[in-house]
């Protein structure tokens, strides 16, 4: 810049940067030929130039030569929350844990449907599965007036995402039962093959046939879509062959939805297993009829390509776990536990954990154990006697695998409740759960968010 007064005035060092293209004679005032470790700054400093700020370690431990890194704009920690639904006189509706050992009571969301709303005589007290999908839980809620009470309502299905909750839809009535009769309840609700499925108990038809249906829940639209025909004795229904049989448990394997039936009349008519390809098949396929005195299929699990069904039995018949042979499609006994008394015994909560198949087994007041199968075709073994662990007999509820542990809900015969957990190879009672839930009267289902 020309300066007639004979003075160079250069106050723009922070404006023009390095220039190596021009000859040094032709540089403008403020242009630089090198600017090592310099930076422009605009925080009340435009026009000036300064030393760049220092560099300090961000991480405490060296990671080896860092070749590349990428910022992932997703939550740094994904918290897994276990929710166990409870019922009782207290205001708490759930007990919640994020680590499996410390539990706290919560009054939200709305309580799931209570055990007393699970109508029946054979199998009402065991916790049902509650569905979880993509950061939300979906469950049959308790906030409705159940048929046949006055002003009865349709059973609602609600969601909860950890902070907000709401009703998703209601179970429609079953025409085979009656146009003015609302369904009784949702029996079981699970996420299978990426879709939420549920079974309902709809009530008795005019012919005293127990009726029920299977739906999937489209979580995008909040709509229920019936899978296959209803079970009942109405027009177009699938008649299970006995008035006391109705849908109960569900599972998924071999591209099929598997349905376990329950005889809820107090009789010992054999339960059945059906299958269907949702969206493809128009009818249910009868896959198996259990033996006499085996009135209920409680749980399913697919293990190493084969389908297992945990069943309940009455009289002196030892309850069994059945397995479906891939080669023949035939169902055969995989495990059987001899009973002590002439009461019911159940295999519940089939679940694959650490590549082994687990099942809870209980016979009220007599046996209270966890069974395990380590390989297909092998022998089941008792992995833990819960009586010796907890000092009581009770019923084993559903199971759930969270992280590196498997959990079973335990409901004692005396009205106290708990959770047992296997982690790092050892079973232990989750003491805090019992402490927290002390004032509650039951665990009616649990899930993971």
């Amino acid at each position: 810049m020309a300066n007639p007064k004979g003075k160079i005035a250069c106050f723009g060092l922070g404006e023009k940067g390095v220039n190596l293209v021009k000859s040094p004679l032709h540089l403008d005032d403020g242009e630089l030929t090198s600017a090592q470790n310099a930076e422009f700054f605009r925080n009340r400093g435009r026009g000036g130039i300064r030393k760049r700020s220092g560099l300090a370690r961000f991480n405490a431990s060296a990671l080896g030569v860092i070749y590349r890194f990428l910022n992932i704009p997703l939550p740094a920690t994904v918290t897994t929350t276990i929710l166990a639904a409870v019922e009782g006189t207290g205001v708490e509706t759930w007990v919640i844990s994020t680590n499996g050992t410390s539990w706290a009571e919560a009054t939200a969301p709305v309580r799931p449907s209570r055990a007393t709303k699970h109508v029946g005589v054979n199998f009402t007290g065991v916790a049902r599965k509650i569905a979880s999908l993509d950061g939300r839980i979906y469950y049959p809620a308790d906030d409705f007036t159940q048929y046949p009470a006055a002003n009865h309502q349709a059973p609602p299905i609600r969601f909860y995402d950890g902070s907000s909750q709401g009703e998703v839809c209601q179970v429609p009535n079953n025409p085979s039962v009656g146009d003015t009769t609302n369904a009784y309840n949702v029996e079981c609700m699970q996420t299978l093959n990426g879709t939420i499925y549920l079974t309902t108990y709809d009530g008795l038809s005019a012919g005293a046939q127990q009726c029920g249906r299977v739906f999937n829940l489209d979580v995008r639209t909040g709509t229920l879509n019936q899978i296959g025909p209803s079970f009942g004795d109405g027009a177009g229904d699938t008649n299970p062959g006995d008035v006391s049989l109705r849908p109960f448990s569900i599972g998924w394997a071999l591209g099929r939805l598997w349905l376990g039936m329950m005889n809820d009349s107090g009789s010992l008519v054999a339960a059945k297993i059906y299958s269907i390809r949702p969206g493809i098949d128009a009818a249910w396929t009868l896959e198996a009829t259990l033996a006499a005195n085996e009135p209920i299929v409680v749980s399913f699990a697919e293990y190493r390509g084969q389908m297992y069904a945990g069943c309940g039995a009455g009289a002196l018949i030892g309850p069994r776990i059945y397995v479906r042979a891939a080669a023949s499609g035939a169902w055969a006994q995989s495990d059987q536990t001899a009973k002590v008394n002439s009461t019911y015994g159940f295999y519940v909560g089939l679940v694959v954990y650490n590549d082994e198949l687990y099942a809870g087994y209980f016979e009220t007041g007599a046996k209270f154990i966890i069974r395990k199968l380590s390989a297909p075709g092998g022998a089941w073994a008792t992995d833990r006697d819960l009586n010796t662990l907890l000092g009581l007999f009770g019923s084993v509820g559903d199971s759930i695998v969270v992280g590196s542990a498997v959990y079973y809900v335990v409901m004692s015969g005396s009205g106290s409740y708990g959770v047992v957990r296997k982690n790092a190879g050892a079973w232990a009672a989750v003491a805090d759960f019992v402490t927290v839930i002390g004032s509650a009267n039951g665990v009616i289902g649990y899930t993971v968010l």
């Binding site: 003075k7 250069c10 005032d29 470790n37 370690r57 405490a60 030569v65 860092i66 590349r68 997703l74």
Partner: protein, 534 residues
Amino acid sequence: MSFYLVHGGTSLYKMNPDGTSSAIALPTGVTMLSTRPARMAILGRSVVVVNGSSINLAVDAFGVARPMSLVPPATPPILAATGAGTLNGKFLAKYTFGIKNEYGKLISESAFSPVSVESATLVNQIFRAYNVQNSPQSQVNVRRLYRTTSGADGTAFFPWVDIEGNTIHEVLDGLPDAGLDAVAARTDLGSPPGTSTDSYLEFIVEWKGRLWAKGSRDIDNLLFSSDGTLYGWPAANAIPVKPVGGDQYGCTGLIRRRDEMACGRRDMLWKVLGSNETDFRLVTLVEGTGIVSHDTVKVYRDIGRFLAEDGVYQWGPAGVESLVDEDVAPWFTTDDFFNRSQFPNAFARINPNDVTYDLFLASAGQTTIDRWISYDIRSKKWLGPHKTAAFTPSDGGMIRDTNDVRLAIIAASDGYFYKQTPGVYTDLASAIDLDITGKAHSGDDPDTEHVWKRPTVYTGVEAAGTLSITPSVGLLTAAEQSAISHDLTKERRVHRRLGVGRLAKLRFRNNENNQGCTILGYEIPFHPLGRRNR
């Protein structure tokens, strides 16, 4: 709040915003390499990792690593007629390996096995499908069978049945044709390079809901995945980047900005047009300028910037433009400043706080990256080359801390990330060597001798410190004089007379540890003495 995937040493880490980290368990047999840097892209809440791992990986939001794509079955299933059913005729079958998540959703599926031999003629029977192999990849937990319908020509396969697990080898099924899925088998499956260890993907980006990449062998093809999937890479999804066979480098980088993407070779850029498999194609964007290092490609505010062989360019709404031609071209066109043979190993970052494009290079004669230069995006000016005595840079970028505040980061070969610390002027206890040289002032009369009088220097006030000012007076080649000490605790200082000569130049330097230094400007009074005739 974000987290970070880090390729450090021979491990893959998940690092949290507080700097804590944990190694991610890799699938059995998979290793991270010390010979190639990982390159990553995000699609559908999963991060794919290529180049730096022995096979391509996909890491989900929980930090679980799985193969990005699965090795397909090598042998066909065998179909046999058995039992009583409703099927009649001859059929063909094939199958895939798959991974289902905890909800039972299929999240990865391999390419198809070979097609089976045609079955015997079924007469009111069902199938026994056997010889269904187990996958050697332990994450596989389902095998999905597909079959033709009765009497079909054998080309239309339909999803048939899933064999869950990775154990049993056969299944019995009598599902009639009418019960098959109405939608035919996917045609968008396939295995990209890096599915197994004999090849790899060199770089990868996400664009238009697909992954785009270059393979290590088929270097002239731009590969892309099927819509929305990490794992489906049909062989047909390859676009030749001409001139095929034109050099030994093939595709050298990808720039995605807005709704556009450019694919570079060393000496040209192509623009990718189209929206799906049927019309993806390339048109020439510019000839004579290409990408020399994919890791220098950074996009900020709709403009992509990258290192070419002769400088840094930007691709934006105005086309492809040089960022160095008018000022710092010699950095890239001579051997005086940087080792140009190391340009392919260069990398860059965007500093979101200073709004700069920082390019990391090896200085002249060096084979490790030890310098960086900064392009101020707002003023369009360059500063540098910068250096540090504290570490050797190995990557750069941005992270967010526990308060979700953006930090400009340099990663280093010592295993640490280094963050900018405004107001602190030390690199891990090493001094930051500020060194600035200005122009040679001539008073607009370079042929006239001048008396350069006492300069006044304005600086920011610091608590301590000394700025070293070294004058050069005379011709352009004049030697540096002894340095003048400028007290940084003072805002303005008048220094000694500079001397007599045609030109006057000042060099400012501060190499004190933990010492800030701001230079606001200077004045140099002068008067002409006259013109020498010799």
